[in-house]
């Protein structure tokens, strides 16, 4: 299935969980947060929350600003 990660299309196996996105990006879990289709997914729920085809996933972190 195809999911959109920070605006870019990625192929993930059907039934992939949110935790798989962090692996795709090669990111540690610390200092980042994930929203799927405009809703926050808590860190504790990453391993169990399935993604659906066409899901829009945003992975955010802190950058210089303000």
């Amino acid at each position: 299935m195809q999911v959109w990660i920070n605006g870019a299309a990625h192929e993930l196996p059907a039934g992939a969980r949110v935790a798989a996105v962090l692996d795709v990006l090669g990111l540690p879990g610390r200092g980042v947060a994930v929203a799927v289709d405009g809703e926050l997914v808590r860190r504790a729920d990453w391993p169990a929350t399935p993604l659906v085809d066409g899901a829009r996933v945003e992975v955010l972190t802190a950058v210089q600003g303000g």
Binding site: L25, V34, A35, L60, T61
Partner: protein
């Protein structure tokens, strides 16, 4: 009263100068400026992760033992700001948020309707909300009434360096506020930071004035001293203004 400690909600912050990290040429320059400023609380923005940027700014703030204040910069609606704040709380493990909901790119002025809506939602969700607001005493009062832990009126639009365009409004906000008032945005140089404190603000938040100065470290030192000086002057009880001169040396005939 302790001159340097700022109390926001149940937090004690060891400096009245809150810094931003935006605009610094690189992390080395930023580090020297942050150290020189003496800040204990510093803003960051939330953006899509990018392998190139990484989490360098977070690592820096942790190493310097500076508390992180995530902002919602770039949000135009209450819904966007609430989601960004929740993402920041999840990523950074803090309930502090600098709430910014701006109306347009040209002015970057707060949208008061969206701001108040977002503030109320975030307070209800357990956040310690520090809203970037207009220099409007009525809006400041409304933000306090919905439970914001501070109010942060602008001196002038973000990044302009135009100083405090409406000092009387800032004084009115200070006179009415039961929460800390933080002058946020518009500071260009040290005298303006001192003025904010002399008007009775509890703290100053600035970024551009330091990070885009020719010598950020030196300007950060100037801002630290200005905030301390302005705060001391405010609480020292200045002399009344007089129309005519008043000699400070004894009369020669006495």
């Amino acid at each position: 009263m302790d001159g340097t400690t700022l109390v926001v909600g149940d937090r004690k912050i060891a400096s009245r100068l809150i810094m931003g990290t935006g605009g610094a040429a690189n992390l080395e320059v930023l580090e020297r400026a942050l150290v020189a400023s003496g800040t204990a609380l510093t803003t960051v923005a939330m953006r899509r992760v990018d392998a190139a940027t990484g989490t360098g700014v977070l690592d820096l703030l942790r190493r310097l033992d500076i508390e992180v204040l995530p902002n919602t910069a770039g949000c135009r609606t209450a819904a966007e700001a609430v989601l960004t704040a929740r993402l920041a709380r999840e990523a950074l493990e803090t309930e502090l948020v600098k709430l910014e909901v701006v109306a347009d790119e040209r002015t970057l002025l707060p949208d008061p309707v969206e701001l108040l809506d977002a503030a109320e939602q975030l307070v209800d969700d357990g956040f310690t909300v520090l809203p970037y607001t207009n220099d409007d005493p009525v809006l400041a009062r409304r933000l306090e009434q919905v439970g914001c832990a501070a109010v942060m009126p602008l001196g002038s639009p973000i990044g302009t360096g135009l100083g405090i365009r409406n000092p009387h409004n800032i004084e009115m906000i200070v006179a009415e506020a039961g929460v800390p008032v933080v002058l946020d945005a518009g500071i260009g140089t040290a005298s303006e930071a001192a003025l904010a404190m002399e008007l009775g603000c509890d703290a100053v938040l600035l970024a551009t004035a330091v990070t885009r100065a020719a010598d950020p470290e030196r300007m950060a030192t100037a801002m630290r001293l200005a905030v301390e000086a302005g705060h001391a002057a405010r609480h020292a009880g200045r002399i009344p203004r007089r129309y005519w001169a008043r000699a400070s040396s004894p009369d020669p005939d006495d």
